[in-house]
């Protein structure tokens, strides 16, 4: 286990660095995109690239610190649970929001190139 510690720490820091970069990019994207539906791309980068990946990185760093003793497993375990919840729940939340915003016409579709869902709704293949 002593040989594995520097490897785990370096991988953990690389993942936290990827997370920091993705957060800044997603923050700039949220402000400059023209439309609600295009901002969903920025939201995906924020939640998965900017929150899921750093939490996994923090759990790996926590596993490699031997001064803490048994408590490093508590830190790593809680971090993994948070990451699994984030991985499952964040895309579902964006999907439900996008579906509700489209069908209730709460979000404007202004710079629109093509709307394939509209054609399917008119043909009657999708209810409501």
């Amino acid at each position: 286990m002593n040989l594995l510690n520097p490897v785990l720490t370096i991988i953990g820091y690389v993942l936290v660095g990827i997370g920091a970069f993705c957060q800044v990019v997603a923050g700039i994207g949220m402000n400059r995109f023209p439309n609600f539906f295009v901002r969903l791309h920025a939201a995906t980068i924020c939640t998965i690239g900017g929150s899921f990946v750093p939490i996994i990185g923090c759990s790996l760093i926590a596993l490699s610190i031997e001064e803490l003793g048994v408590t490093r497993f508590f830190l790593a375990g809680a971090g993994f649970v948070t990451a699994v919840f984030l991985l499952i729940l964040a895309p579902v939340g964006s999907h439900l929001l996008a579906k509700a915003a489209y069908f209730s016409k709460a979000a404007v579709l202004h710079p629109k190139a093509v709307d394939l869902l509209e054609e399917d709704v008119e043909r009657g293949e999708i209810r409501e």
Binding site: N5, P6, T9, I10, Y13, V16, G17, G19, A20, F21, Q23, V24, A26, G27, I28, M30, N31, F36, R39, L40, A43, C46, T47, G50, S51, P54, I55, C58, I61, A62, S64, I65, L68, T71, F74, L75, A78, G79, V81, T82, F85, L86, L89, A90, V92, G93, S94, L96, L97, A98, K99, A100, A101, F103, S104, A106, A107, V108
Partner: protein, 89 residues
Amino acid sequence: MTVEYLVYFIPFYIVGLVLYILRALKGPTLPDMVLAIDCMGYVLAALLVIFSLYLRSPLIIACAIVLTLWIYALDVYMSKYLEKKELGE
């Protein structure tokens, strides 16, 4: 190697938090604001895990799990409000 180098990464998360708050206050429509609050909550969850690792204290890390669950629940409430006529259906 220690956890002290984590401090250099924290300002980037705070910059992202400020940019999401700007979008939450600026957003012209309702789904924009909910999406921005959603992203703000998940950034805060990542920050809470990083802080608890930096302060080397495993007792305060359970707050990140609870925050993730309830921000998702806020998403569900808002999309149910927009979509259906009756909230129980």
